[in-house]
């Protein structure tokens, strides 16, 4: 079967523990780099997962398939808000953290078993901005981009 995949890699000068927390249970921190959006979950394998926009709308939902803090997180991810993207079904988001000298290598692989995929196109506009903001916030205490209007256009 054909598959659409996007891969994002960034090196962040932080610890794996701090990065894990920023990507999971620290919702207030997440809102700062994710343009007000945060994710809700217990972050353990088998727990439900959902992404909530600042206006309270759940845009994406699914389940945590694997959780190995602070190394690996796998999310079964399905878009909820737009019917044509929801109809594409489930995607897989794999988040990997590897210590690399004074930094942590963060790899995000987002894939779906279809090509082309509107979901993958939509998230492809978002992930680079989110990761770049996350890196900037962890390293300098400030985000680089405050508005995500382009991301919202893509959705």
């Amino acid at each position: 079967m054909t598959r659409s995949t996007f891969l994002y890699v960034t090196y962040i000068r932080t610890t794996p523990e701090r990065l894990w927390s920023a990507l999971t249970h620290d919702a207030e921190f997440m809102k700062r780099y994710w343009f007000g959006t945060h994710c809700e979950s217990d972050w353990t394998a088998g727990s439900p997962w959902r992404m909530v926009r600042p206006d309270g709308i759940v845009t994406d939902a699914g389940e945590i398939l694997e959780s190995d803090p602070p190394r690996r997180l796998v999310i079964r991810w399905r878009h909820q808000n737009q019917p044509e993207i929801k109809a594409e079904g489930e995607s897989l988001c794999v988040i990997e953290l590897e210590p690399n000298g004074a930094a942590v290598k963060l790899t995000i692989t987002h894939s779906i078993e279809r090509e082309p995929s509107q979901l993958i196109t939509a998230v492809s506009g978002g992930w680079p901005k989110i990761l770049s903001n996350l890196k900037s916030l962890l390293e300098t205490g400030e985000v680089a981009l405050k508005d995500a209007y382009r991301t919202e256009c893509a959705r």
């Binding site: 995949t5 891969l7 994002y8 890699v9 090196y11 000068r13 004074a102 930094a103 992930w127 680089a144």
Partner: protein, 110 residues
């Protein structure tokens, strides 16, 4: 590693037409093998490998192993950082100008 060396590696990687061609190929279709990439370039396999290594060192390219195949992906995160550093700040005034224009035109219409 992040920092000045990163920026140097990034621009050095971009300063070569063959490497930009490789990025264009991956932009058009991600997740290609070395053999697939070689088919599009008039260059030896070793030459293409060297260019891919430079792109990977600059974090413009990431690879994934799927069974015996090594797939190459364009990593857009460093390009996003270039955008934020030099371009993003110009976007806001443009949006404000559009909003002002809309307000003025609508007011004139009333």
């Amino acid at each position: 590693m992040p920092g000045q060396d990163d920026t140097d590696a990034l621009f050095k990687a971009l300063a070569d037409p063959s490497r930009r061609r490789l990025l264009d190929l991956l932009h058009a279709h991600d997740g290609r093998t070395l053999t697939e990439l070689c088919a599009h370039l008039d260059m030896t396999r070793q030459g293409v490998t060297q260019h891919l290594d430079v792109l990977e060192a600059a974090n413009l390219l990431a690879t994934v192993r799927r069974g015996r195949r090594k797939l190459h992906f364009l990593n857009p995160v460093p390009l996003q950082e270039i955008y934020e550093r030099w371009i993003a700040k110009f976007e806001k005034p443009r949006l404000k100008a559009l909003a002002d224009l809309k307000r003025r035109l609508e007011k004139a219409h009333d």
